[in-house]
């Protein structure tokens, strides 16, 4: 929970309060945590492992591990960071087991990669928008695991740099370096895939 949503919903207990209640034996506190986090965890897993994997299965595994570990959860850590840490480990395990398998079909990508960019009917803009989503998915999939994790947690999950550093158990500066490199690589990759928006400002010729 961000501080902003705490202000708008003053009655909603914080994650840490819910964890404390759970540790005191109120098992329904975990249900509230699941309501709050399940969709977010699924979103992160979907982007980390790709659409080919069983996101529900991995999300369920994450929540089960959280349930089992919540009793010994240390209060000085943030619940969000801890939960994402579990999700990351679940995803890393899955990726290691399925190593060598590309989780985004590049055949699929090439089918739509360069569709009529010269023409400009409005219907094509719609196709392009859908196309861009797939292009981005494919580009993120090319990132090394460390960079992909940071990009997903920052860009799509909206975690703070501090929360990411906690989830990954690395220094703050490492998080920013990985993000900087990840974004740089994404920019290049999208250009390679023919997406214009991400391209850097062209250097003046001659």
């Amino acid at each position: 929970m961000t501080s902003a949503s705490k202000l708008t919903r003053p009655m909603a207990p914080s994650d840490e309060e819910l964890v404390e209640r759970f540790q005191k034996g109120e098992s329904s506190a975990f249900d509230t945590l699941v309501h709050r986090w399940e969709r977010k965890v699924q979103g992160a897993i979907y982007r980390l492992v790709g659409p080919g994997e069983d996101v529900r299965d991995l999300s369920q595994e994450t929540l089960l591990k959280a349930y089992r570990g919540l009793g010994t959860f240390k209060k000085e850590a943030r619940f969000s960071s801890w939960l994402y840490q579990i999700a990351l480990n679940v995803c890393r395990d899955r990726m290691r087991r399925g190593r060598g398998k590309s989780y985004v079909s590049f055949d699929e990508l090439s089918e739509t990669g360069e569709t009529g960019r010269e023409a400009g009917p409005s219907a094509l803009d719609l196709i392009e928008a859908r196309d861009l989503s797939r292009q981005v998915a494919a580009a993120v999939a090319t990132l090394p695991e460390e960079q992909r994790e940071v990009v997903v947690l920052k860009e799509y999950q909206g975690l703070t740099f501090l929360e990411i550093a906690e989830a990954l158990d690395v220094p703050l500066s490492t998080v920013k370096t990985r993000l900087y490199r990840g974004l740089g690589q994404l920019r290049q990759q999208l250009v390679r895939q023919g997406v214009r928006g991400g391209s850097p400002v062209p250097a003046p010729t001659s």
């Binding site: 249900d31 529900r56 740099f161 974004l183 928006g197």
Partner: protein, 221 residues
Amino acid sequence: MDCDAFRDEIMDLLYGEAAPADARRLEEHQAACRACRDELSSFRRLRRDLASWRTPPDLGRARPRLSSARPYLAMAAALVLLGMTVGGLAVRGSELRYEQGRFAFRLGQARETSALSAALAAQEERHRREMEALRATVAGSSRSGDDMLRKVQQMIAESEARQATLVATGLTRLEEKTEARRQYDLAQVGAGLSYLDGKAGLQAARTTELMGHVLQASQKK
């Protein structure tokens, strides 16, 4: 000025996490450094592209399934035991399978039945051939007469009766043998299952409880 020193600040500014003092420092630098200005605006355009990637609406809620709970050790032990039981049964041609949430087994009598049937068929064939030979001898005999014919018919009848008795006895024995094997197999399977029950019961109960929690939580949403 070393632009690399501003990397962290560019990331902070890009995601709105820059402290006011850092933001000011970066702005001052950017006023004089076109590369850093371009870098920041390029990253901002990139972020607009990245925003187009949305999760599908049918991502859905977790649907807890027991199979996904993976009580690894208990399951591994259960599988080894199951393997042993199935292996033991397979040796005798029996089959134990887990399908649609229940154990199903087929007893290994097929091979034995066919062996016995073959033996009986062979015996019958042998008798048939003997009878035909006898008939041929009788037919070819010059001393054919009513008495002789009656005698031969009686012999044939006796032989057929003996043959029928033999077949009946064979079937009864087969039945007895099969029933004994069935009882034995049932006892084996029963013992295997109750052992599995005992081993996996505790873990299964724990898993079910966990799944119940996750399911309830999912459904309340």
